[in-house]
Symmetry: D2
Subunit: 333 residues, 4 copies
């Protein structure tokens, strides 16, 4: 970490600051120029509060030279992490299609969707049991019963299952869940992350709507620092001024995260765009950008002719998309 001090800082102020930094067990290397003084901080700077340091009157600027994340950092772990989920692998060249309905609604629904996406080549079944909803009056999901139905669909098809947790006290219900999802709104629910770090279940961690890539990696670090190294990162769109799409899918996050970290990166174009028509081109683009997996909403309700335009694809559309994704993956090898 580098701290540049302002012109006019007195020797007294410098030694005060150096003393304070040394008490944090850092080595401080002072380089005094004519115009400015530069402090090089060596040691475990991940404990230093950059915001505080920056806000000191005598400090011009502070820059980290090393990223504040360690276990998620590719520098200390150059090889891609490969995560095993049942018979499926993700990362390091292994690619997965995750598909299923937004919410689990009934046994019939989830089993039918599960069968159909399996047939089309999906590797993992997704489905929401606990649903984070902006309104307290909206349907909050089938909860425990939803997880039970996902387990049935798993038995029926052999597909591993992924579903979202919102409250650490619900953890016992997730015993047979293969991947636990942390939603965008909980990306910085640090207590939840820490508790999930104590499990040994793979975690799919979604990027928050207003969170930087570094913050996403710091949240992964919360999980990993408790001992659970199986974290899958997920880009699902960020909040911008554009209103045509629900959010703005940041596909450059895929390559950027691969550069910074060894963890697998998955893209969710369904939630990002909020429009079924945009899901296939964005899924194909995600595959081309090097994503390790794609997560797609698929519904299967022939009775509900209305739903065709929603962000969910029909099983037939998913089948077609899956073929195009595979062709693009071959093209970029």
């Amino acid at each position: 970490m580098i701290a540049v001090l302002k012109h006019g800082t007195t020797p007294d102020q410098v030694s005060h600051l150096v003393g304070w930094l040394k008490r944090m067990n850092l080595d401080v290397h002072v380089s005094e120029g004519q115009e400015i003084t530069v402090l090089g901080l060596i040691g475990d700077t991940s404990r230093v509060d950059m915001d505080l340091l920056k806000s000191l009157e005598i400090v011009e600027t502070v820059k980290r030279v090393s990223e504040p994340f360690k276990q998620a950092n590719r520098k200390f772990h150059p090889k891609d992490t490969i995560i095993q989920i049942g018979d499926v692998r993700i990362g390091g060249g292994y690619f997965v299609m995750i598909a299923g309905p937004c919410s689990v609604e009934s046994e019939e629904q989830i089993i039918e969707v599960a069968r159909s996406v399996k047939e089309s080549g999906a590797h993992i079944l997704r489905g929401g049991a606990f649903k984070p909803r902006t309104s307290p009056y909206a349907f909050q999901g089938m909860k425990g019963e939803g997880i039970r139905l996902l387990e049935l669909a798993k038995q029926e098809t052999g597909l591993p299952i992924i579903t979202e947790i919102m409250n650490i006290n619900d953890l016992p219900l997730f015993e047979n869940v293969d991947v636990i999802q942390v939603g965008a709104r909980n990306m910085q629910n640090f207590d939840l992350l820490k508790e999930l770090g104590k499990t040994r279940v793979p975690i799919l961690l979604k990027r928050g709507l207003a969170n930087t890539l570094q913050e996403l990696l710091m949240s992964a670090e919360y999980i990993m620092s408790e001992g659970n190294e199986q974290v899958i990162l997920c880009e699902r769109g960020i909040r911008t001024f554009e209103t045509y799409t629900r959010n703005t899918l940041d596909l450059s996050a895929v390559s950027a995260l691969h550069e910074l970290s060894h963890l697998p990166v998955v893209v969710d174009p369904s939630h990002a765009t909020g429009k079924a028509k945009l899901v296939p081109p964005m899924a194909v683009a995600a595959a081309a950008s090097g994503a390790d997996g794609i997560m797609i909403e698929v519904h299967n309700n022939p009775a509900c002719a209305l739903c065709d335009g929603a962000q969910s694809l029909t099983p037939a559309q998913f089948d077609d998309l899956n073929h195009r994704v595979q062709r693009v993956r071959e093209a970029i090898l």
Copy 2:
């Protein structure tokens, strides 16, 4: 709620959609024009998933005519809510200054700050015991011991205390806390909100970094719908492209929230700007904009000469600011 259907929608599609809406217990009033068909939905539309409706192929656009929040809505509760906190009131013309250190660090520190801000006219003491930190390696607060020290400062000075909760399982520790704060990162931690809704303690709810005013009010609604009507809203800056300030303080939120809701609105200029120099002008501007309270970071560590430039004010600066805030409040009466 109004749904405008696309040109070319068939009568069959219309009756399908109307049937689906009626099964949600809504009255549907169909108005067919030459170019478009407009559906008026009457009844409890707070259960309708707007995103789903919007995404249907035949739907051009959907607009809520009534806001989706009810208990927080000024339309149904025209009078300002006044919340009693010990001997202090906030809202409906009652104005409070909330002051204290970012984190509780020691008995000496918190009691000294408490005494000094009380003397300068603060009404409530703030201090962090559980600290949400981006990095798992950073200091996470004194936790239960921090709350105990706040209680000591309360005994010593008579000031009510406010501190942040991050995990509902810690609730028993907050027994003597006068106002429980929900931080920006937990604004949509819906399970936490629901549990706090079951208490009868005033809640200070901070706006999330990327959350709209309507989302903030929906989160207040989560608390209120469980029976706790004592919610104080807090604007603390939103995330934008500007990097000179830590966040961008959205002062128009104060008037906007007062128009939409009867709940008191507090402004936190310390976290929003991240710079001590900007705190006083923004605090004064917040008072001028009609805020019901202002929350200021004040530290008191004569040993730490370094901290003078941080976002915290010294007791002397707070004292001066408090006078200016009072003068501005008189000017706008």
Copy 3:
């Protein structure tokens, strides 16, 4: 256009508003419900100031049913526009690679780059002669001399050339330029757009850093409404809170613009990401998303070993990228 009036609007106010709208040559269809009154405005609503209408006290909400752009609108022009640039075509299945240096620096440089990108399969040569720079003290481009050097490179290689205009008074210098570029900062320089609309030269119009897709199409409309229908839209990243990349490339804009408009859409990953390492994956993703062209910065300065990490690719990197882009384009057919 639909205007929903507030509950409690008096018949007098309604007839006032209807009269005002009719004076704008609109047919107004009034539909009075129990709770709300809906006005359907039929006719040329592109002249109606939505912001003004929305801000009226009695108006709850206003929604356009038809987009405010006409000539750029796919509804009125379902077939893809194909633009001819020398021997090259773009749009409607024709795909172009545009490559060249950020700035024209010397005859040697531009001719060498032109030859090398032509050999690698580029269709159009780009190079900046007038450079929009944040600082008045930074190099502002070779201006007229830069255009002359581009013309030399065109003679030498046969590649059509594209370069940016910043001031309409410079137009005479662009006589032999094949595509005139309007930069992101000038996307809403309406006088410049109108003047370019009077030429018959293809215009590449870049999306502004904070402009919506609809605003981009309205700016295209400014050019088209003056008679120049040859507009190429360009996505080059929008400004968000993320700082890892220079801007956030919004690839969903490609499909969205194709849905809304018949104009060709090009992607510029070099300016969007600002990092050479991210250019190839984003270029490949852009091709997969259905873009009609990609614009890449390529430099060729063997003396400047330093530049290897900049957002520009070397000719060898461009050659490799071009092959991958072609493979991906075949995969998505």
Copy 4:
């Protein structure tokens, strides 16, 4: 300027880079640590392209120690600039109210509004003659005739006038205009700025919707570097994700700009909020934050009962607001 080089940079690479920097007439001070190498660049670094430097492979990070603006910089010009406009002064403790209609519509309208705002205490009359409109089909202003009517109103009332320029070729029409406004969309129309820099007329420069404070000051620098030092900065809201207000008024910009620069700062709450109800509280808050002036839209069309809810205030509302603003200004002295 400080450049931190990456761990592992070879001595050869360092000397290459140092050579390149020295050829830009910079002194380079190299400080090699165990982990990193820091270059201190001394001299006129305003010519250095930070983006290029940052993007070099061997560069970890670059930070400016001195801001890239000079003439607008308070460091080199500590005293507040006071600008004389007719008999009116702005800056350095002099405060102005600027008021008038969005667009000049007729002689009757502009003279009536001018008289009424003068009576209420306004110092300068505003009115749009050239209107930047998103749509080419919307009313574009009365242009030259609009300026003539403003001149009439000036003769009639003695109020200096301010109006927006969009095209440098229109400059001759602005001969009798007291302050020329550059709108948000033209903040980075550098050629326009340079030409205005050659005049000696005060320029009101509005912040672009997605521009940082530093970029605003760099645009002021474009004007000042050509010799025109009379620049008034104007905060008018930035584009964020929030949709309740048209834009988000960034009031912390006032203090921040005052810290960075000696130029006067004006706030425009009418365009920022887009809602008449929010204009008075934001105007009062702007005064409290230390703004040197406030710009308010006032209309005066008794025939148009509809317009009462628009972002414009009535003369009576402006009169009331003006009194409150004056009281707040006295309170913060």
